[in-house]
């Protein structure tokens, strides 16, 4: 029965992964990050 359910570590990893991806998308979309930000006056 235990094998049929999703293990706790998978749920934790899934939530962390989701948060990281959402944060990345937000940061990239809002322009607060990315290669262009590192170009010094170019």
């Amino acid at each position: 029965v235990a094998e049929q359910s999703t293990p706790g570590w998978v749920k934790v990893f899934g939530i962390v992964a989701l948060v990281v991806v959402v944060l990345l998308v937000v940061v990239l979309v809002t322009g607060g990050h990315g290669p262009g930000r590192h170009m010094l006056g170019k």
């Binding site: 094998e3 049929q4 570590w9 998978v10 990893f13 992964a17 290669p35 590192h38 170019k42």
Partner: protein, 172 residues
């Protein structure tokens, strides 16, 4: 297709070498990033940022792809499969994510190198915390992938459970 034991060992050796090599290369890159931020020697600071892009193209990117390809061979050629076990799936996601970010980040490393190579650029403009941050995050991700590979925490995906069920029915 399940690999023969000798080929399986060869594939495993290649995968461990590429993956742990990638981890070690990122650790070396992190050391460079620290030198770039902390050193008082202007030439050393510029040199640290100048070598980041070549290290990226000639060491990090090849090791990232080698880790990905050997990982695919290793998973598809063994009982583990690519989508059957959560630990394999998460390793794949970490690898693809880290490789994708690395490829995007190569553009930043090129611009960081351009600034470092410009003699008129102020040392304060040459110093950049971004490589340190990205290398630290990459090191953390690759360490997590290594832990997953060693501990292989249990847990099968829905796809894996279905495949196991189909195999049990076929064998009965």
């Amino acid at each position: 297709m399940i690999l023969a034991p000798s080929l399986r060992n060869l594939a495993l050796t290649a995968h461990v070498t590429a993956s742990v090599g990638w981890l070690g290369a990122v650790a070396g890159f992190l050391a460079l990033a620290v030198v770039g931020l902390a050193s008082d020697d202007a030439q050393r600071v510029r040199a640290a940022y100048l070598v980041m892009e070549p290290i990226g193209w000639f060491v990090l990117v090849p090791l990232a792809f080698a880790s990905l390809v050997t990982g695919l061979v290793q998973s598809l050629g063994t009982k583990w499969g690519l989508f059957r076990h959560y630990w394999v799936l998460f390793k794949l996601l970490i690898n693809v994510f880290a490789t994708f970010i690395l490829l995007i980040y190569m553009e930043t490393l090129a611009s960081v190198g351009d600034v470092a190579g410009d003699p008129s650029a102020d040392l304060g403009d040459v110093r950049n915390a971004s490589p340190l941050l990205h290398a630290a995050l990459a090191l953390f991700l690759l360490a997590v992938a290594t832990v997953l590979a060693v501990y292989k925490p249990r847990g099968m995906t829905r796809y894996g459970r279905r495949r196991d069920g189909e195999r049990a029915v076929t064998m009965s």
